[in-house]
Symmetry: C2
Subunit: 482 residues, 2 copies
Amino acid sequence: MANKASSRLEWRINVPGGTSKVLEPESGAVGKIWVGLKGCMGIIVWKVWRVLENAWHIGVADPRKVIHCIKVGLALSIVSLFYYMRPLYDDFGGNAMWAVMTVVVVFEYTVGATFYKCINRVIATFLAGALGVGIHLVAEQSGDQLKPIILGISVFLFASAATFSRFIPSVKARFDYGAMIFILTFSLVSVSGYRVVELFELAHMRLSTIAIGTSLCILVTMLFCPVWAGCELHHLIHQNMEKLADSFDGCVTEYFKENGSEEDLKKKMQGYKCVLNSKAAEESMANFARWEPTHGRFNFRHPWKQYLKIGASLRNCAYCIETLNSCISSEIQAPPCLRKHFSNKCMKASSYSINVLKELAITIMKMKKSSNIDIKVAEMNFAVEELVDALKSLPTTHFIATTGGEESTKAKAEGVEGSEHPSPIIKVLPLVKVVSLMVEIATRIGGVVNAVKELARLAEFKAAKDGKPKQNQPTDKLVSDH
Amino acid sequence: MANKASSRLEWRINVPGGTSKVLEPESGAVGKIWVGLKGCMGIIVWKVWRVLENAWHIGVADPRKVIHCIKVGLALSIVSLFYYMRPLYDDFGGNAMWAVMTVVVVFEYTVGATFYKCINRVIATFLAGALGVGIHLVAEQSGDQLKPIILGISVFLFASAATFSRFIPSVKARFDYGAMIFILTFSLVSVSGYRVVELFELAHMRLSTIAIGTSLCILVTMLFCPVWAGCELHHLIHQNMEKLADSFDGCVTEYFKENGSEEDLKKKMQGYKCVLNSKAAEESMANFARWEPTHGRFNFRHPWKQYLKIGASLRNCAYCIETLNSCISSEIQAPPCLRKHFSNKCMKASSYSINVLKELAITIMKMKKSSNIDIKVAEMNFAVEELVDALKSLPTTHFIATTGGEESTKAKAEGVEGSEHPSPIIKVLPLVKVVSLMVEIATRIGGVVNAVKELARLAEFKAAKDGKPKQNQPTDKLVSDH
């Protein structure tokens, strides 16, 4: 302890420069600083190493991200060529810079995001350029004194209005970037109009360099391993559905199994958390997806908004599974005999529910109307009804089983305290909770079924080959029945 | 029907240009087009009107957004002055444009976001500029043939690497904008280095104009009605806590009240949805808050991350309240007599739980350690224990009450079907669900208590004046006990 304190003291005295009070003769001030530096370097190297390791894992997990980086490098190198080649350079002069800037700013991971930015940038530049030139002409007429005032006021007004428009949700979702570019271009045109005489030429330059940049971005992003926001959203919803099914399965298995839990099961059970947290990702992807042209199995007007509804209904299920999960991990549990009694019925109900979810996941993946979803929903509902019936008949049988018939009942009726048989409801309670949550989850899966059916209708999914869609069967009634 | 079909037909024929088949003599093709145009205009006017109405509501709801717009206009007008004033213009030449661009791109709603972008922009520009000039000097040495190749490869490599770094979560959270500006500046310096001889001067120009732009933004954003991301996060968490309390209160009141529901109550009950959806907002605010200097009651190193933990624990509660809400709105309910029996105990437990939440909300708002939170938590736990006890004693009393003693029990024990007394558990079930969810919510409120206590410890909240903090009381144990 004393040694520690003295070394700290020595350190404090050494730093200002004095070396007269060094207590350990074998290491001087330089040595100390060297050790300190080595420590710092070590920490930095370690941190950089961790970031690199992290980066490596990200690259291995999704090689498309690496490809995206190569695409950005490629697009920038190509656009630099415009600059290096003298004839092109002479055409555009110093404005070739705008093409480089456009590529850097506009190139995004998904095709949809790139389209969104490109279209916004081109339209906003055009509008703001036209408006800026118009106002400039008006200002020109009103003399040198008024000109800066008119320009200043117009910049103030339009910039404020465009900034405010970014707060309106519907504008923000579609034209946020456009509003920013509008302000930028309008200010630049107004401001430089004061100096640069060839305003039309400047506007023309800027538009054509931006056109070069955007078309290059669109070409590169679409030709080399395109990442479609729509596909991503589609896969995300599909994966979330599978994760939810797995997680529900994991919870029920965990609850009713007899031996100790495994690591795999624990991991599987956590899948619902992804569903809970994917709202922001879904929304941004749906926003970008609507800018994408027809690709693969998706049309230009694919009902992307319906995916958000499916996502919401999945999250609805996930809330319940979250509660179920906390029931399962709670320490107070129903006695094993009771659990065993319910095990079969619960496993049946849950497996039918999971079947429905898996069938929906297949419907989404294949984009074909499922021929037997109605049957599966009916099976699920039937199993849930059976489970509810079992719950209805529970208190009598259990009451008899644990308290051994009439005498005990009498004793309880007379309010005898301290009876050695605990009151049944508290034993049944955890099980009742689990079962009622399972029933609730099945109801909410009904909501998912309806959302997926609506998607199938809106996107005109074809019927699957291995059967006919049974449209006349009253499934919606069945789903909302319980 | 026939009329409709013919008018549709006429329309189709008219549009290509022919007027020979017009069925209604009083309106020619021009008239039709005029009607169509009027219709289109009407729709556009209506849409614009709705957007404006929307904008008006947004402005009224949060006047700071309007102030933000004025601030942006102001900053842009000021920066335009640099351009209009000849002496300054002559110093910076065409590069004054960079100052305008910086203001447009960097000025954000909150001070934190503006700082984040300013600092990222300045550092990234400096780093990329230095690196670009360095590589340019190396390329210069290797002859005219190799120079474009070296520059092209370096652009490719650095752009790819910087793009990839944006996929690493820790980098993305802090330096996403910086990485983009790094790519931008590096490409511009490399590319323009090929032509412009005065590379150092260009770099210097860009740095100084960016410095002017960023310092102007920081001044304007901090001096006129600053919106601090930290304060926003603080208020959001505080509001969410209140909303959660209100929504829990609303649910329980709605369930146990006897007369019809009111609109106010319904609205109050929906508060938990805000909590469920505020994750993204919390995260972005926490990200920005850490860039902010000391302001008001918040230090530079205020533990913003702990707010995220409080937010997560609040969402944890909200999941349960969501399930509770769906229990309440379900059609199958426990009989009124039963509900009345439990009403008092449930209301007591919920009001104590709500008290705890409200006390926590006050702790957060005042940033003072609460003197009686431990007592309130103990009260809540006691009320919950009472509720659980009531539930334990429920089946016996209720069983006797509904089935009238031994005979019925016997009949049930013998498996007689079709008895006119429904089995008790199905009657009790909805109530049991509600009560067990209330118990679960109380447990999760315990999680919120712990998170807020941790915040009070990290941020060194002072004790409230009206009492002493009772640190020795074993609250954590109490909280995790039930």
